[in-house]
């Protein structure tokens, strides 16, 4: 084990950073194959009606931002949904696989555009702070989100999944 403490000039970090940084983990197709290996996927056009939006919001206590669903029926049974939730600053696209009975089978984050965790930052994310005055404190959240608590982003993912389960019950199950 080796460890060294150092200061990295923000300007050096900015030089290698892309301004609109987004880390892509999985494409929609890759997420589909991971969750339902070997299956084929049929996209189902589905736009929630005003009544359905209202019912989903009431059942899940979360806001429906987009009534148009990105929904696929899976040949081997179940459903695949691509959705997004609000992170700390930006949207987090994620994929949710539901089994035949509408229970969550898997969740994968497809892309991440903001600071991860909190004790650790990637250089691209840090670039946005370049030029701010000295001594500015980067916000921290690690301490209150240990195994039992939750960060804001992870809470919003939980809320988003609850909303999708309500969406399944109200609009997809009978589809």
């Amino acid at each position: 084990m080796k460890a060294q403490f150092l200061w990295v000039p923000a300007v050096a970090i900015v030089a290698v950073a892309t301004p609109a940084y987004a880390k892509v983990y999985l494409s929609v197709e890759q997420a589909q194959q991971l969750m339902f290996p070997g299956a084929t996927f049929t996209q189902q056009p589905l736009t929630l009606t005003g009544d359905q939006v209202h019912a989903i919001q009431k059942a899940s206590n979360t806001e429906v931002l987009n009534p148009q669903l990105q929904l696929w029926k899976v040949s081997t049974g179940g459903w695949f949904i691509v959705d997004q939730v609000v992170g700390k600053h930006e949207f987090i696209p994620l994929a949710v696989g539901l089994d035949d009975s509408g229970a969550v089978k898997s969740i994968e984050i497809l892309e991440y555009r903001e600071a991860f965790g909190d004790g650790v930052r990637n250089p691209q994310w840090l670039a946005q702070f370049y030029g701010k005055r000295n001594g500015a404190t980067l916000t921290l959240t690690k301490d209150i989100q240990n195994i039992s608590g939750a960060t804001l982003s992870s809470k919003h993912i939980t809320d988003g999944v609850r909303r999708l389960l309500a969406t399944y019950a109200i609009a997809i199950a009978a589809h």
Binding site: A3, F5, P9, L138, L140, I144, G149, T151, L152
Partner: protein
């Protein structure tokens, strides 16, 4: 020219945060299977040791272990045994029974049922060799200060058994990595003169803790440290930021609490675990432990 090594990276919401795993140098199908297995391990540890979930083993202990011995799984046994060993080694600077103070602050929920004894501490927890736990008095056990690091280690060891060239595993501020070259880890601490504090580590774990709590997450008007000094029951100072580097994330995670409470006095405990710490108090960085570099570059 050698082919670039294959890199697979995925992220899932687990442990109340976002867990990110990167594996290099394995065929993609195998890497994906291993990453899925590692996520499953982390999810299992979360289910067993969640303070929030009524059905977890931890919740069962909190409800019943003060009345009769409660049998626990090998994983919970392992984490609790690490926790008690750290509590003993640090003379209570790490104490997994400070949950009532955290509940008072709204950081953890208040548990229904038994009220914890006001003088309960880690010394009231008895872990028997036949894998049962008894509490000498009613108390609220919370493994949040160590179980995340343990989950990182378990997932890391599982991935490492398949021999990829690099592993990077991060769970909200707790990180473990391995590979042939050192890697830079940026710290979410205040920076100075356009310079970002960072540690360069090789085959090690890092955990960082700060006290600047986000107001939107705790709803408090004033910055309050989410850390409790177990010796006094009071909050730790709010201008301290701690990064611990250790061979294993279980220790790095738990030792951040020790350094947060004791500062420089935590050196002997760090040494015992071959760990070291970098600590920021106000505007001054200090390194702690016999394994730490003695001089830090450009202290302000």
């Amino acid at each position: 020219m050698p082919l670039p090594s294959l890199r697979i990276e995925r992220a899932k919401p687990l442990l109340g945060t976002i867990v990110r795993i990167r594996v290099d140098g394995l065929p993609s199908a195998l890497a994906n299977d291993i990453i899925t297995g590692a996520f499953d391990l982390i999810a299992e540890i979360h289910r067993l040791m969640s303070f929030h979930e009524h059905e977890s083993e931890l919740s069962l202990m909190n409800r019943e272990a003060s009345r009769h011995p409660v049998p626990i799984s090998p994983r919970t046994h392992a984490v609790l045994s690490h926790a008690l060993e750290l509590a003993k080694a640090s003379e209570g600077l790490f104490d997994p029974t400070v949950a009532p103070a955290l509940a008072r602050d709204g950081i953890l929920p208040v548990l229904a049922g038994t009220s914890p004894a006001s003088d309960a501490s880690w010394k009231d927890i008895a872990l028997s060799s036949n894998a049962t736990v008894s509490f000498g008095k009613p108390l609220w056990l919370d493994l949040g200060g160590i179980a995340k690091g343990y989950a990182v280690d378990c997932a890391f060891d599982y991935i490492a058994s398949h021999h990829p060239t690099h592993i990077y595993l991060e769970a909200g501020g707790d990180l473990r990595l391995s590979g042939p070259e050192p890697e830079l880890v940026y710290l979410a601490a205040p920076y100075m003169e356009g310079n970002i504090p960072a540690v360069k580590i090789e085959n090690a774990a890092v955990a960082s803790s700060g006290s600047q709590v986000l107001h939107d997450e705790t709803r408090s008007q004033q910055p309050v440290s989410p850390h409790i000094d177990p010796r006094t029951g009071n909050h730790c100072r709010t201008d301290r930021f701690v990064t611990v580097v250790a061979p294993r994330c279980t220790h790095a995670d738990a030792l951040t609490k020790v350094v947060m409470a004791a500062g420089l006095a935590s050196a002997p405990v760090l040494d015992r675990y071959q760990a070291l710490a970098f600590m920021l108090d106000g505007t001054t960085w200090t390194s702690i432990g016999a394994n730490a570099p003695t001089a830090l570059p450009c202290d302000s």
